[in-house]
């Protein structure tokens, strides 16, 4: 299982704070023949419906795996914690 978290305006737009994704799910079968990347997960999530497409294809989104910011080429492993979020605005 992979835990997927969403924050701030992204969480509100999707009405979703957290998802669990089972990599053995048949819908991932085609991609699982090779390594499953973060970008592939993003595309998979974008295919959910129009709202998800609009929000998950936003080029400004940041992505983190196990609480470190990484790019789309990052290969996901079972047990990873993935997060998608908008540019940060603290300080």
């Amino acid at each position: 299982m992979i835990k997927v978290l969403f924050f701030a305006q992204l969480r509100e737009s999707l009405s979703c704070a957290e998802l669990s994704i089972n990599l053995n799910d048949p819908k991932f079968a085609s991609t699982l023949k090779s390594a499953f990347t973060l970008e592939q997960l993003r595309e998979q999530l974008a295919n959910t419906d129009e709202t998800w497409q609009l929000n998950m294809q936003n080029g400004k989104l940041l992505m983190a795996v196990n609480q470190t910011i990484v790019n789309g080429e990052h290969i996901l492993q079972d047990g990873d914690e993935v997060a998608f979020f908008p540019p940060v605005t603290g300080g």
Binding site: L5, F7, A8, Q9, K60, A64, Q67, T68, I69, A83, F85, P86, P87, V88, T89, G90, G91
Partner: protein, 153 residues
């Protein structure tokens, strides 16, 4: 030391702590202390602001701040470093963030404090939602903050 907290902090207490070693003796090795406090301002991105809510990513926030401090320590000879960032509901003029750095000499302390703030603005997972005269809205990230970070490349 890093703290992410809902409650306020006291500048005098933090300043005193920066001048005190972990074994309670006086930190007499450092001749420079630089502190920065960020506050909730009444006007932002074209609207009057009444207050804001700060959301964060628990766990990653602390990790991101630790990384920023480690990077600062790799660049400058620093004594003590303290970062506090508040989360939750904040009102006008409330303190949001504290950065305190000590060093033997002022140059390192000034630069390291600025470096930590520049990276915190771009890399630490905090998000502000403002209450303005036109309702609530998420604050947009600003290009000037990205440029400020790039000066350290």
């Amino acid at each position: 030391m890093i703290s992410v907290q809902t409650h306020d902090f006291d500048m005098a207490t933090e300043y005193h702590a920066l001048l005190t070693n972990t074994d309670s003796t006086i930190n007499s090795a450092d001749g420079a202390v630089v502190t920065f406090v960020g506050l909730v301002r009444d006007y932002n991105q074209g609207n009057h602001v009444q207050g804001l809510t700060l959301e964060h990513y628990p766990g990653m926030t602390e990790k991101a701040l630790e990384d920023i401090v480690l990077n600062a320590r790799a660049k400058w000879p620093l004594g003590k470093v303290r970062v506090i960032h508040r989360v939750g509901q904040l009102n006008l003029s409330d303190q949001i963030v504290f950065v305190g750095v000590t060093s033997k000499h002022r140059e390192a302390a000034f630069e390291a404090a600025q470096f930590i703030m520049d990276f915190l603005k771009n890399r630490a997972p905090f998000w502000k939602k403002e209450n303005t005269d036109l309702g609530t809205r998420w604050v947009e990230a600003e290009v000037k903050d990205e440029i400020a970070q790039q000066r350290w490349d």
